[in-house]
Symmetry: C2
Subunit: 324 residues, 2 copies
Amino acid sequence: MTAFFDSSRKLRIAVVGTGAIGSYHGAKLAASGHDVRFLLRSGLETVRSQGFTVHSTTDTPVIRLPRARVFGSTEEIGPVDWVLIAVKTTANAALEKLIPPLLHDGTTLVTMQNGLGNEAFLAERFGVERVMGALCFVGVNRIAPGVVHSFGRGTISVGEYEGPPRARTEALAQAFRDTGMEATVVDNLLTERWRKELWNVPFNGLAIAAGDMTCDLILADPGLMELVRGLMRELLAIAEARGHAIPDSYIDFQLSRTRPLGAYKPSSLLDYRAGRPVEVESIWGEPVREARQVGVQAGRLEALYYLLQRLTAARVAQKNSAAR
Amino acid sequence: MTAFFDSSRKLRIAVVGTGAIGSYHGAKLAASGHDVRFLLRSGLETVRSQGFTVHSTTDTPVIRLPRARVFGSTEEIGPVDWVLIAVKTTANAALEKLIPPLLHDGTTLVTMQNGLGNEAFLAERFGVERVMGALCFVGVNRIAPGVVHSFGRGTISVGEYEGPPRARTEALAQAFRDTGMEATVVDNLLTERWRKELWNVPFNGLAIAAGDMTCDLILADPGLMELVRGLMRELLAIAEARGHAIPDSYIDFQLSRTRPLGAYKPSSLLDYRAGRPVEVESIWGEPVREARQVGVQAGRLEALYYLLQRLTAARVAQKNSAAR
């Protein structure tokens, strides 16, 4: 088994979900010599003929990948060693049919998606042994099929869904490091997911529910800041009841990290504005359900969840009817 | 003292706040023979020359009050026996200067305003002995200065802020009955205020925060209905801690009362749409503060409060900048 995780070995990787995150990470791995096969729906012919280009404010040089291996179905891709899953969580149901053609006995599934519950979703369907997760910290926009702009050097944290890190965990981190990214192996992936929720829940949520707010506007509103802190406290209580001890001081750390972002628009706000589905269930719905399971009061979180369900559904419906 | 509350006696009444509620109730009392003096800002000359007209879908005949006593200041009105207070609670601060010229030793102040805290506001400034409250259940719109449309026969509940009903409580109820309204004396005014909060908080609040929702749309959304019930449970817990026992079954009663309203637009939504101030503090802010005082968890209420603070302030600012 050790030979399999030799970091000089060429990895066979499928990227399922070739949006900004999937395109960026897949293109970087392909550029560093791995066999990366991308699943595409829209823009398949464009990317087949032109490949991928990653423009960057900091990476040099720009990544040019003129001949990318792109496919319209996972049957055409066939079995691989690693599956990087980067579809929006609103499309998770589609994974039940997309994943099986990619599997051999040793295939590892890595969810790079937002929020909670994605690892559990995969474990239930494909076996807990296969599942890893990655938290991606990079500003990326897909501006056209195969064309991605990235802001800042990407960092990524990878971890096992169950149990401590092992050889494969380190092998994946090393593969990302070899692309020039900063990559960390985390001992407890789900604790990291809860830490990220502490930011995503209030800032992505209030950006929509408080009426088209950028981060600086939220930080400048004393009432909303009470609510941000209240939401964070609820999340800490749920996480703690789930065995993820995160110190209260992490609240101030998350807020101090947010100040330099200025008029940043959280990604859910961009989705909402564009009338695209927002990842309401994985970011807000899952912690609400976890709170109920452990009997923790989380009224602020529940209120925000139900408001976002309605607001985002109405926005998508409005956009669809305008498009008709 | 009994003679003073003889129901055949002509009452001297000042109406402070001649919007829909003040115009409607004042005009009815004036039409039944009382000395009613209205404080007006805008439309003073119009109402002075044309008086009041109350159109109604059910009252017959329409009330015509061609010669109304209207004034531009409470100094001109002078001392009265009763002050009916119907300004929006967002203008409460102005009452500190408006009320004193209306007072003699026996003047009673009756707040007909929405939400919580209005009786306490008056009691602190003018003495608890003077304060009564009225809950108005009538659909009224002021469509022009002096012109009001009413939907349905008005009912009103009146009560003392402190202590049980007394002669004056009954006298005021009788004065309203004499106008053809249904009027009730309530033993515990504040309990009735909490009962009304149980409707106002979720329906006025979600109509705005969930994105321009009428009552029927709220009732049809399972997530929002979870939130409605959660908000009502929080309010019941706060009310109970404050000594106002309201049975849980009142939740279902309030919901059953709402279904026949169909696509009704709660008044706060109308204010919000028009860019007028919304009574955020008296409807949502006061119960949040009460919850803190009694140590009751009310996260849903708090979330809704802070969201509404921001949404309504932004809407007013938007309207003001558009008007420039």
